[in-house]
C-alpha cells in the first residue's frame, strides 16, 4: 500500500512532534543545562556555569540526603509493599467473592483513585489529624491514639498513597489473574497443593510479567507524588515528610535557587529514566 511520498505521509506527525519537542524535550534539555548553573530566582541578571557544583553540594547537604532517604521509605512502604501487595490481595479475593461484594469493593477502591489529587489529600488529612477519624476509631477500639501527622508523618503520607494508588495494581492484577487458565489451578488443587503453595508455585510465576511492569509503574508514579504530600503536611513537620519533589520545590522557590533545585530535578529524572528503561526491557523480553 503506497500512498504518497514518505515525507508527505509523515506530515500528520508534525503537530504532535512540535508540541513534544517544544514543551517536553525542550524543558528536559533546559533542565540539563541549568542544573549546571547557579541560576537564581531574583536579583541576578546573569547566571554562570558552575559545573558539578550543584551536584557536589547536594551530596554534602544533609537536607538532600534526608529527602533521598524519605523518598526511599515512601516508595518502599507505599508502592513496593503497600499498593503492590494490597492490589494483588484485592484482585485475588475478588476472584472468589460474590458479585455484589466485588462490585462494591471495586467501586470504593477505584473512586479513591479517580478523585482529584488535592481532594484525596484533604480526605486523608482529615483522616489522620489529631481530632480525625483514625483516632476516633482507635478510641473506639480502646487502642492508644497518636497525633499521626506530627509523630509519624512519612507513615501517614505513605498510607495516603496506598489508599489512592492501590486501584491501579488491583486492575492490573485482576487482568493478569483472569489470564491464568482455570485448568492449571484446578489441577494443582486436585494434586493437593494448598493455597499458599499454589500462590507461590503457580500464580506468582505465571503473572511475573505483570508484577514486574506493575512495580515499575507504581514506583514511577510514587516518585512524582507532590500534591498529596503538599496538602497533607507541606513536607513537615520540619522536613520529616519532605520527599525529593518537595525538596526540589523548596530549594527552587522558598530558597530561590533554581539551579540547585533543577540539579535535584535532574537526579530525580535520571532515577525515573532508569526505571523507565528497565520497564521497556521487561516489556521487550516478554513480548
Amino acid at each position: 500500500m503506497r500512498r504518497g511520498h514518505p515525507a508527505v505521509r509523515a506530515l500528520p506527525l508534525v503537530p504532535a512532534l512540535v508540541l513534544l519537542l517544544l514543551f517536553l524535550a525542550g524543558p528536559i534539555a533546559y533542565c540539563v543545562w541549568i542544573a549546571f548553573t547557579d541560576l537564581q530566582l531574583t536579583g541576578q541578571a546573569h547566571s554562570s556555569f558552575t559545573g558539578l557544583a550543584n551536584f557536589r553540594r547536594a551530596f554534602q547537604d544533609d537536607a538532600f540526603l534526608n529527602a533521598v532517604w524519605l523518598t526511599l521509605v515512601f516508595t518502599v512502604l507505599s508502592s513496593l509493599i503497600g499498593q503492590n501487595t494490597l492490589g494483588l490481595a484485592l484482585a485475588a479475593l475478588m476472584k472468589r467473592a460474590s458479585k455484589p461484594v466485588r462490585t462494591l469493593t471495586g467501586g470504593v477502591v477505584i473512586t479513591a483513585w479517580v478523585l482529584p489529587e488535592v481532594v484525596a489529600g484533604f480526605l486523608l488529612y482529615a483522616f489522620f489529624r489529631r481530632e480525625g477519624t483514625l483516632n476516633a476509631v482507635l478510641d473506639w477500639l480502646h487502642l492508644p491514639r497518636q497525633n499521626w501527622l506530627f509523630t509519624l508523618p512519612i507513615l501517614a503520607v505513605s498510607f495516603a498513597n496506598v489508599w489512592r494508588g492501590t486501584a491501579f495494581s488491583m486492575l492490573v492484577y485482576s487482568a493478569a489473574l483472569d489470564e491464568i487458565p482455570a485448568e492449571i489451578t484446578e489441577a494443582a488443587e486436585v494434586d493437593g497443593a494448598g493455597g499458599w503453595r499454589r500462590l507461590w508455585h503457580i500464580t506468582l510465576p505465571m503473572i511475573r510479567r505483570s508484577i514486574g511492569t506493575n512495580l515499575m509503574l507504581n514506583t514511577l508514579q510514587t516518585l512524582s507524588v507532590f500534591g498529596l504530600i503538599w496538602v497533607m503536611t507541606r513536607g513537615g513537620p520540619g522536613d520529616r515528610s519532605q520527599t525529593l519533589p518537595l525538596f526540589m520545590y523548596e530549594q527552587a522557590f522558598q530558597n530561590s535557587m533554581i539551579g540547585y533545585g533543577t540539579a535535584v530535578a535532574l537526579l530525580l529524572l535520571l532515577v525515573g529514566s532508569l526505571f523507565s528503561v528497565v520497564y521497556l526491557r521487561l516489556l521487550r523480553t516478554e513480548v
Binding site: 503537530p15 513534544l20 524543558p27 479475593l93 469493593t105 486523608l124 525515573g272 521497556l280 516489556l283
Partner: protein, 295 residues
C-alpha cells in the same frame, strides 16, 4: 473480541466444575466476601467523611452521622469566587488541553498505525519511555523556561504543557485503538478516490469511537485532577483552576470551614467520577492501560 469469548468459555467451564466441591467453595466465598468488606470499609472511611461533612451543619474533621441535613455548605460555596470561576477555569484549561491532546494524538497515530516505516519502532519506544517519566521532576525547569519566554501565568502556556505531558500516553493508546480498525474498509475508500485525510476523518475515527472516548476522558480526568502543573505555571488568582484554588480553604481564610471544604470537594470531584463511570466498561478489567502494560 476473541478475548471476550475466551473468558466466556472459562466462565462456563468454571460453572461446570462448581457443582462438585460446592460447600468448600461457598465457605471460601464467604471468607473472601468478609475480607473484602473489611478492606472496603477501610477505604470508604475517608470517602464517608467528605460525603457526610458536606451535608452536616456542624462538620468537623471526623466521620460522624450529621445532627441534621443541610444544604447550607453547598449554598455557601456556590459563589463566583469560590466555585464558579475556578471550575470554569478548570473546564477551559482541561477542555482546551484535552482537545489539543486528542487532535494531535489522532493525527500522529494515523501514520504510525497505517504505514510501515523504519522509524516507527524507535519512535514508539521513545513515546513509551516518555510515558513513564516523572513529569513532576521537570516542573522547576519548565517554570524557569516559561519565565524566559513569557509564557508564565498564561492560559495557552499551561494548555500547551498539559497537552505535551499527556501526549505520549495518548498517542500510544490511540495507536493501539487504531490498529484494531480493519484496513480493508479504508482501502475501499482509497480506490474510490478518497485521500488519507478523508479516510481518517470519515472512516477510521468514527469506527474507533469508543477508543477515542477513552483517550478523551482519560486525558481530561488526568488534567482535571492535576495540581502541580497549574500550581507552578499560573500565578493570578483569577486564572486558578479548582485543583489549586481549593487550597485557599486552608491558607488564606483562617478558620477552616470543613463543611464547605467538603461541599466544594464533592462539587469538584463529581464530574470526573461521572466521566470515569461513563467509560469504565472500556477502561475496567484489563484497563486501556493494559495497552501500556502489555506493550
Amino acid at each position: 473480541m476473541p478475548r471476550q469469548s475466551a473468558s466466556r468459555r472459562r466462565v462456563s467451564h468454571r460453572h461446570a466444575s462448581r457443582r462438585r466441591p460446592s460447600r468448600r467453595r461457598a465457605t471460601r466465598r464467604l471468607a473472601a466476601d468478609l475480607a473484602l468488606l473489611a478492606l472496603a470499609a477501610a477505604f470508604a472511611l475517608p470517602l464517608a467523611w467528605v460525603l457526610l461533612s458536606a451535608v452536616d451543619p456542624g462538620a468537623g474533621l471526623r466521620v460522624r452521622i450529621p445532627d441534621g441535613l443541610t444544604l447550607d455548605n453547598f449554598r455557601a460555596v456556590l459563589t463566583p469566587g469560590i466555585t464558579y470561576t475556578p471550575l470554569l477555569n478548570s473546564l477551559l484549561l482541561c477542555g482546551s488541553g484535552t482537545a489539543l491532546t486528542v487532535g494531535c494524538a489522532a493525527l500522529a497515530a494515523y501514520p504510525l498505525s497505517r504505514f510501515r516505516s523504519r522509524l516507527n519502532r524507535p519512535f514508539l519506544l521513545t513515546i513509551l519511555f516518555a510515558t513513564s517519566l516523572p513529569i513532576t521532576a521537570i516542573m522547576v525547569p519548565v517554570y524557569a523556561l516559561f519565565v524566559r519566554v513569557n509564557l508564565i501565568d498564561t492560559l495557552q502556556g499551561t494548555v500547551f504543557f498539559f497537552a505535551a505531558s499527556q501526549l505520549p500516553f495518548a498517542i500510544w493508546l490511540m495507536k493501539n485503538f487504531m490498529d484494531s480498525v480493519p484496513r480493508e474498509l479504508e482501502e475501499a475508500a482509497w480506490t474510490d478516490g478518497a485521500s488519507a485525510a478523508q479516510s481518517l476523518v470519515r472512516i477510521v475515527l468514527p469506527l474507533m469511537g469508543p477508543g477515542l472516548a477513552v483517550v478523551t476522558v482519560f486525558s481530561f480526568v488526568m488534567m482535571w485532577g492535576n495540581f502541580f502543573v497549574p500550581f507552578m505555571l499560573l500565578l493570578s488568582p483569577d486564572r486558578m483552576p479548582a485543583s489549586v484554588s481549593v487550597n485557599d480553604f486552608f491558607g488564606n481564610r483562617g478558620m477552616v470551614a470543613y463543611g464547605q471544604l467538603a461541599a466544594f470537594s464533592v462539587l469538584y470531584s463529581t464530574p470526573v467520577i461521572l466521566l470515569y463511570v461513563l467509560v469504565a466498561r472500556r477502561l475496567g478489567g484489563g484497563f486501556a492501560l493494559g495497552g501500556a502494560v502489555k506493550g
